[in-house]
């Protein structure tokens, strides 16, 4: 196991155990900025951790970022790790981030589906869902990104437990989802949420389950445009952006729709690299370029949330 965050290889994929150890090291080395919060436990009793980046003690407006809700999207957990380190490195050095952190807290859930992620390392690299046991079925797992209470159970999700998009028995039935929902609702001051997925190079905003645009459609569209521009300037990667329903497909019960409907206006979902050579098997050599280009987009959204309080 890696013994410090400086010897950790950010250009390699890591197991859950390695990432959890790295988190402990990060917290120990930067205790003035980072703390680790356990927000729940998975079906298989693994802890669910969130990293909190904060420069103040009071309850502040906050930004939520999660990666790895779909277990096999390894580039996302790896990007989450790199992003956490970037926040630590740039805080106090880079003016935009420093300014944000002087007024807001950032919460980053690097491995949002720990059971699924552990399963991808031990048994099936291409596993997507969590590892819940489904009653009356031999098939395991619920798609945690169809389990949110926003159009739950509708088109774009499945009621078949054997499907990759099984929505689960009821909204927030899955601990990976309920833990986040409870935490966000209890906190009450989240102003932006970014959920990181892969792969199709897209930046999406609500809705995924309704045809009508949100009341904030124009603002979200313009912000997505800016974020994508910032991203493409790093390595020239092309992203498309827009409402989830019209950019990709109808999807019910997804994170960003729930967040938007719970008053988190700046609610976005990233689909990181690639566009069709490797899919979920993106080579580790692309971890850092992917994370590097995603960061300015994240920063653009965070900065906008900070500059436009509501």
């Amino acid at each position: 196991l890696e013994r410090s965050t400086s010897s950790f290889r950010y250009n390699a994929y890591h197991t859950l155990e390695e990432i959890y150890t790295w988190m402990d090291n990060l917290v120990a080395e930067h205790s003035d900025l980072v703390s680790k919060i356990m927000i729940g436990q998975t079906f298989e009793k693994r802890p669910i951790f969130v990293l909190k980046f904060s420069t103040g003690n009071k309850s502040r407006p906050a930004i939520w970022i999660d990666s790895g809700i779909h277990a096999r999207e390894w580039i996302t957990q790896a990007t989450g790790v790199w992003t956490a380190m970037k926040i630590v490195t740039d805080c106090g050095e880079e003016p935009v981030l420093t300014n944000i952190l002087n007024h807001m807290d950032i919460f980053l859930e690097v491995v949002t589906n720990p059971d699924g992620f552990a399963y991808t390392h031990s048994t099936n690299r291409l596993w997507r869902k969590n590892r819940a046991v489904n009653s009356n079925s031999t098939c395991k797992g619920v798609d945690p990104n169809r389990n949110w209470d926003a159009g739950f159970g509708g088109v774009g999700s499945s009621n078949n437990p054997c499907s990759e998009t099984y929505h689960g028995p009821f909204p927030h039935s899955e601990p990976e989802v309920a833990s986040i929902a409870n935490f966000i609702q209890k906190h009450k001051h989240f102003k932006a949420l970014m959920s990181i997925h892969s792969y199709s190079q897209m930046l999406l905003y609500p809705y995924g389950y309704r045809k009508e645009p949100t009341l904030d459609n124009e603002e979200l569209h313009n912000l997505a445009c800016k974020a994508v521009e910032a991203l493409s300037q790093v390595h020239g990667t092309d992203y498309i952006y827009g409402r989830a329903i019209s950019t990709i497909y109808v999807a019910n019960g997804i994170t960003i729709d729930w967040a938007y409907e719970h008053d988190i206006k700046y609610s976005f979902s990233f689909e990181l690299r690639d566009t069709g050579i490797y899919g979920f098997l993106l080579p580790a050599s692309q971890i850092i370029p992917t994370a590097e280009e995603t960061w300015p987009a994240i920063l653009t959204i965070m900065k906008h949330a900070y500059k436009n309080p509501y």
Binding site: R9, N11, A12, Y13, H14, S122, T123, N124, R125, L126, C162, S163, E164, T165, Y199, S200, I248, Y249, G276, I277, Y278, G279, F280, L281, P283, A284
Partner: protein, 93 residues
């Protein structure tokens, strides 16, 4: 550990809604065990699906007989997985 030897990922560009529906029908067929990496959404977006080696001929025949064109995006998934595994262990060392 589950092996994916000979499994392929096919990239499909459906021409219209009718072809998309034909692709969606594949998902409902439990025998073929296809795994959509990019689900059928709209004609402008590609569909990527992982097909187990044992069902490759059946799926390709289905696509050919339906007039749906495809390319092979990943020829053998296990080859990529082996490389990934090798990379991880060398990184650990």
């Amino acid at each position: 550990q589950k092996m994916f030897s000979g499994d392929q990922v096919l990239r499909i560009r459906a021409k219209d809604q009718k072809q998309l529906q034909l692709l969606r029908n594949l998902e409902d067929s439990e025998d073929l065990k296809v795994d959509f990496w990019h689900a059928p959404a709209r004609p402008s977006l590609p569909v990527d699906m992982r097909v187990p080696f044992s069902n490759l001929n059946a799926v390709k025949n289905y696509l050919n007989s339906s007039g749906i064109s495809y390319t092979i995006m990943i020829k053998d998934i296990q080859v990529l997985l082996d490389e990934e595994k090798k990379g991880m262990s060398s990184s650990r060392r």
